[in-house]
Symmetry: C2
Subunit: 544 residues, 2 copies
């Protein structure tokens, strides 16, 4: 199979898209039968269910099998995975390296794009797996876990391909009497380790996985023990395509561990591991950056996402837009706003002057309105992903006046699911650290100037993945853009429609900036791929 020819046009379009950055998506985000066919949804569900309670079919040597997952929705997963010893994973990855390296950028691009094509064919099976392991509402699990993640993967492949092919592969160099034939060999760095997270197993892992692959590095995928299945399917598909291409399936391997017996640190410190992609806690991300010195480490950690509210000409639109961001997946996105900075004396709106409490209550009312019907509500909130969050909500209640209380919802489909609606607390202290989950702080400030000062301080110190501002003043917008560039955070301004601060579009929006403490890398730019390989040159006299 010439996978490169099959997918070359897609790659060419993606290469143009990363430069032009207007709206483009390669994989439809509509789960509609009109797009994916009448049978796609039931077949995907059946394929997912056929995996449950069984040994996952993956041809890796197993010292033992483990089934570490526990669904936030209470779905009985019981999928058992082979646990390959670390030494074996490393040895097999090393063996796979020369063949994968020698496949060249076109050969690798073909294989990577064929993997995406086959993942796309299994997108509803993946959606079920993401839904079950993360507790995301189903449509979100489909979109973020499927087409949006595929777009981000394609984007990483495009960047990696562009970086490797920006210079000629060989040249005849002539200077006076000397003529040399020069070859520019692409040399991978070593083994890539991809460390997945519980909440976005595909969206957050595929970019690093494919960035390392396209640049010639075998990859070991280490999922979060609570969200293995989506990445197990990914690895299974990758190995299948590699084998068909006559390449070593061990170019992509799965490393499964359990909460009680993690293997991540052992893997991360192996001298053969030269690239690490991590999404997760600040503590572990910092540990990797400090300790995995032999590797290039790309981290997305946590920050204090901040919204500065100065004024608005669309109070209802602002309230609805922010409410949706707070509700979606119960605020369990790394991009969910946490702090709402609002002048204590209130703001100007299209509905006249509104005092601080009015503004917060408008957002709260929009939240309540969207969540009025429990059956519809859970299709926005999904389920609480881990046991620590309810306690965190309780503690946050004690930090100030509760402006919107968090409430449980009984999930109509999953009785064991823990569902919690957003909490908004008026806080004058304690808001400058991340509080992961459906918790936001409405912070009364002395003025918008004071809000901007707090914005600079908290993001400068703790970082942020997203930021937003609402203002009718060009001067304030300009000042906020200046502040955002200074502290290195992406800024959304006056969003009142169908785009939300917690969402980024592949091929147009950069996700995380790498310019503040919340992350040291971005999805995706040249820096995300350029250090994943080296050029090693040979030169010899041109034959007479």
């Amino acid at each position: 199979m010439d996978f490169f020819s099959t997918h070359e046009e897609l790659l060419t379009t993606a290469l143009r898209a990363i430069s032009e950055r207007s709206y483009w998506s390669a994989y439809s985000e509509s789960p509609s039968p009109k797009v994916y066919g009448e049978t796609a949804v039931p077949e995907g569900r059946a394929a997912f269910q056929a995996l449950l309670g069984k040994d996952f079919p993956l041809d890796q040597p197993a010292a033992q099998r483990v089934a570490p997952e526990k669904s936030p929705l209470g779905i009985a997963l019981g999928v058992s995975y082979p646990q390959t010893p670390v030494d074996t994973l490393i040895a097999h990855a090393r063996q796979a390296l020369p063949g994968w390296r020698d496949a060249g950028p076109q050969g690798r691009a073909g294989v990577c794009l064929e993997i995406l094509a086959r993942l796309h064919k299994r997108v509803f099976e993946l959606a079920n797996a993401v839904h079950a392991t993360t507790g995301q509402p189903f449509v979100m699990a489909f979109q973020a876990g499927g087409p949006h993640a595929l777009d981000r993967a394609l984007e990483a492949i495009a960047y990696g391909y562009a970086e490797q092919t920006r210079q000629v592969g060989s040249v005849t160099w002539v200077k006076k009497a000397d003529s040399l034939d020069k070859t520019y060999h692409l040399a991978p760095r070593g083994i890539g380790l991809v460390i997945g997270c519980n909440t976005f197993p595909t969206w957050n892992s595929w970019p690093g996985m494919f960035a390392s692959l396209i640049t010639g590095n075998p990859v070991i995928v280490k999922p979060h023990p609570r969200a293995v299945l989506p990445l197990a399917i990914s690895v299974q598909v990758a190995r299948e395509v590699l084998a068909e291409a006559g390449l070593d399936p061990n170019t992509v391997q799965l490393a499964v561990d359990t909460v009680d017996a993690p293997v991540t640190k052992e893997l991360a410190l192996r001298p053969e591991v030269k690239l690490i992609d991590f999404t997760g806690s600040t503590a572990f991300g910092d540990w990797l950056e400090q300790n995995a010195r032999q590797a290039q480490v790309y981290t997305e950690k946590a920050g204090v996402n901040t919204v500065v509210i100065d004024s608005t000409d669309n109070l209802d639109g602002m309230a609805r837009n922010l409410a949706f961001s707070l509700i979606l997946y119960s605020g369990q996105m790394c991009t969910t706003p946490q702090n709402l900075l609002i002048p204590a004396q209130g703001i100007q709106t299209d509905q006249g002057h509104k005092n601080f409490d009015d503004v917060v209550r408008a957002i709260g009312a929009a939240v309540s309105s969207m969540l009025a019907d429990p059956a519809k509500a859970v299709e926005l909130t999904g389920a609480i992903v881990n046991d620590e969050i309810p306690g965190r909500i309780d503690r946050a209640r004690g930090m100030g006046e509760v402006m919107l209380d968090s409430a449980p919802i009984a999930h109509p489909s999953y009785p064991d699911a823990v569902v919690r609606t957003p909490l908004i607390v008026k806080a004058t202290d304690g808001y400058a650290s991340e509080c992961f989950g459906p918790v936001s702080f409405a912070v009364p400030t002395e003025s918008t100037q004071d809000s901007v000062r707090i914005f600079r301080e908290t993001i400068g110190e703790k970082g942020a993945l997203t930021a937003a501002v609402y203002s009718t003043s060009d001067a304030v917008l300009e000042e906020m853009e200046k502040a955002a560039v200074d502290v290195g955070v992406h800024l959304s301004e006056n969003l009142t429609g169908g785009v939300f601060v917690n969402q980024s579009a592949a091929f147009s929006d950069f996700h995380a900036s790498g310019a503040n403490p919340a992350a040291n890398a971005t999805l995706t730019d040249g820096a995300f791929v350029a250090s994943r390989f080296r050029i090693v040159q040979s030169r010899r006299p041109t034959p007479a």
Copy 2:
């Protein structure tokens, strides 16, 4: 002045050159009056001499003045430089950052290219400064310190410009009912620190200096205390151009220290310093990589450059070519071959079978022949750059049979200069560490296979900046290319003409690979520039 328009065509040509990689140079390497004019040489010399024994004119605040240089040629320099306190350097660089950032990639490219144009106008003054501070022979000081360094600087500027402009600066993004105007702001990382070396003050410093500058970072240039003048001139020119462009001259500052009171570590650990470019010893490079954790650190250190001699169809050409590499600047280039791996039983040549001693003696004879006339010899060897090298030569003599002895030469023009010709010692041990200076080891191996094994071992462990092979066998060349890619070192094959293993051509050859312990970066590729800035995005609804 619209510096960008002035230099845009040059930039466009450079951008094409880094992709095409055929022979191209923007600055003539011929010091001939036909190229540079009849008055260029005497005027450059006079300008250099006018600086000696005086306060160097640099408008930086001085806590004191220091004159740390000591010419290897015995030229009385006595140039005194203002020593600006570290806190002041950092504070002034921070103040300069926003203006330099806001100048944008075109504004910065214009200023950087104008700096190169003015450095080019002062190229003979620079050549004298490099000659005097490094002990390089004059023509080499002119070429490597002038046009070749300017080419490398231009190359870094081209890469940095390309990286910043690969995506649009802004776009209107439309998805169904939503339309957003997006702006991609380029955000520098912080302050760049450039740490120069004694032997190639401009060639090794300008790439990092201009890579950081073009990407928006103010730069503090910290020369080696023995080779300040070439970089003081560079900083002076940069500040002059910045001022003319209405920008803060403190975008580029000089940090002078002395051997007895170095400031490098203090500067390197400042939290505001986010980029460090270093050329020098492995020990200090490793220290920077381990300790300057707040910064992206780009190092070129030392390695064990290796030549594998298997066979040749041009024994005389091989001997002459290698001899020149050993002689040039008395082996004081980071790219000079150190180990010559030759089968103990000898090799096949166009002059029949030659045993081990014959091959080494052929190289030795070529060395001696080139150095027969002392007046011409010193125009190749230059002077010994520091006091440690003569002792190192003495110690190396004790490591085995001396196949070619090192000898002093009385420099006809500079009586105080220490000149030493190359030493070649037959060594079976102790050759696997760097021995900086005019020392090479001829290592008898069991076979070419054994040579390749030693090549892999020593470079895998210690790294190398260059490697070479001589063989008439395609299989051996192929095996060596494979080995070179595996250990990540650039390979020159069968060089017998006017190209030498220790020289690399900008816009075509990569210098160092970043893929072995001798360096963690290369001159120049995408990885050298991509992490020097970040993209910070803002987006707002498109006005109706």
